[in-house]
Amino acid sequence: MALIETRGLTAFYGDFQALYGIDLRLEEGETLAIIGANGAGKSTFLKTIAGLLAATPESVVYAGRPIGGLSAPQIVRLGISLVPEGRRLFPSLSVEENLAIGAYGRHDCGYWSLARIYELFPALAARRRAPSHTLSGGEQQMAAIGRALMANPRVLLCDEVSLGLAPVVIRNIYAALPRIKASGSSIILVEQDIVQALQVANRVYCFQEGRMSLEGRPAELSRDQIHTAYFGA
């Protein structure tokens, strides 16, 4: 049984249709990458799974259970956390408060705690009392990932975590992935940076204008296939 399976998933912004029937599977323990040009619908896909956009119940199945259309708070309780595009830390909360709020309303003890997040991203420990808007872009991204981990998710959805960051910072952030996987999370990464995505993913999906244009294992996909799936023929 897949951990997450979408079946003919569609999404709309008012009259505008952004997704046209996406079928995708995430197996337990897998890291998936979703690539695609700007506007292909990658963020929309993650937001729909996370409960921010409407969906029919059967179009998103989580561990065998239909969860499409549940509210975002319900979905995060079930174990699916989203690191939103653009970090979106809470500006009036300190770094530590941003992390702590990731565990809002939870008193279960999972793997992740403040101490473990600081271990994962030592740069954050030094800035724990700082207002979040004073962090560098890389630190903000670490805090956004840490905030999502604080919910001890079974599925971590990451939207463009490397956007706008220097290569060395991106490497730092990707270096955390093995530890996150070891904590028991399966991961869906949305990336514009194809090289980065192909390096860490078990499987890759490519989106094009709201449709799935390619699916496969990185080693099995040719440059031409990816180029066509990304930009269209």
Partner: protein
């Protein structure tokens, strides 16, 4: 000289009353970006609730307010849950229209039930008691108590805001309601709790409104105006700013009245305009916005 010091002190203490009026408004605006045009009328409504409890049970105003507070907390939660949450969204007009409507409904409802007669929450000897500071300056106990309550209310609200998980959720939801939901925060429940707490603050405002002066069903909108000015002067979303805003209006009114009694109200409004001109975002605008 003594007379001026006295005027200043009276102004500061009057400011405490305005800060109380403003605290509930500031709370709701800060968390939900919701301007409650019925705020003043809810203060008057609460004063009538306290009055009814006093007469029915023979209580003094303080005890009656203590008793009314949980009921008003519930009323605030229900009001937000069943009505105001439906109006909150991208468009700022629906909440304004709905709370404006509420204002009219409350005023007319109160007129229907209690008539236009002036009422008062009689507190006994404390009303006329005063504390002498020497040098011919004396402070009214009631006035002092008002200011102390305003400071107390704002202290408690700040503790809730900055020291509790609920307060963190309030600030997060105010910053970014969409991402707050991703944290497992149910915005609608958070908003309902905010209005419920604001109603308790309104109950405290009502206590002092009713003990210090006469009230009748129609005086709500004028209280809203003072509250609104205090919130804007202080900077939207800052509770200590709201206290400062209330005090500025109070002092301006006291000084105005000292020069010429007819100038009292006008001086308060002029101080408001002056701050708006000099600091359009208020004295303590929130960081990061």
């Amino acid at each position: 000289m003594t007379a001026w010091i006295d005027t200043l002190l009276q102004g500061v203490m009057l400011g405490g009353l305005y800060a109380l009026f403003a605290a509930g408004l500031s709370l709701m605006f800060g968390i939900m970006r919701l301007v409650n045009l019925a705020h003043g009328d809810f203060i008057v409504l609460s004063a009538f609730v306290v009055l009814v409890l006093m007469t029915a049970l023979g209580l003094d105003p303080f005890l009656a307010t203590l008793l009314a507070a949980p009921a008003l907390f519930g009323l605030g939660y229900a009001l937000q849950h069943y009505l105001l949450n439906r109006t909150i969204g991208r468009d700022v007009l629906p909440p304004l229209l709905v709370t404006f409507g509420l204002s009219i409904i409350i005023q007319n409802g109160l007129l229907e039930v209690f008539s236009a007669d002036s009422q008062r929450l009689k507190a006994g000897a404390i009303e006329t008691a005063s504390i002498s500071l020497g040098g011919g300056i004396a402070l009214g106990t009631m006035q002092l108590l008002t200011l102390a309550s305003a400071i107390g209310v704002i202290l408690v609200l700040n503790l809730i805001f900055y020291r509790t998980e609920l307060g963190r959720a309030f600030r997060a939801t105010s910053d970014d309601p969409e991402v707050a939901q991703l944290m497992g925060i149910d915005n609608r429940h958070i908003f309902s709790l905010a209005t419920a707490i604001a109603m308790v603050v309104i109950a405290v405002s009502a206590l002092y409104l009713g003990m210090r002066a006469n009230f009748d069903p129609t005086i709500g909108p004028a209280r809203l105006l003072y509250a609104f000015e205090a919130v804007i002067i202080g900077g939207l979303g800052s509770l200590w700013g709201t206290l400062a805003g209330g005090i500025i209006i109070g002092v301006a009114q006291a000084v105005g009245a000292k020069i010429d009694p007819e100038w009292q109200i006008l001086a308060g409004h002029l101080a408001f305009l002056a701050v708006l001109v000099l600091r359009p975002r208020g004295l303590f605008p929130r960081a990061g916005q």
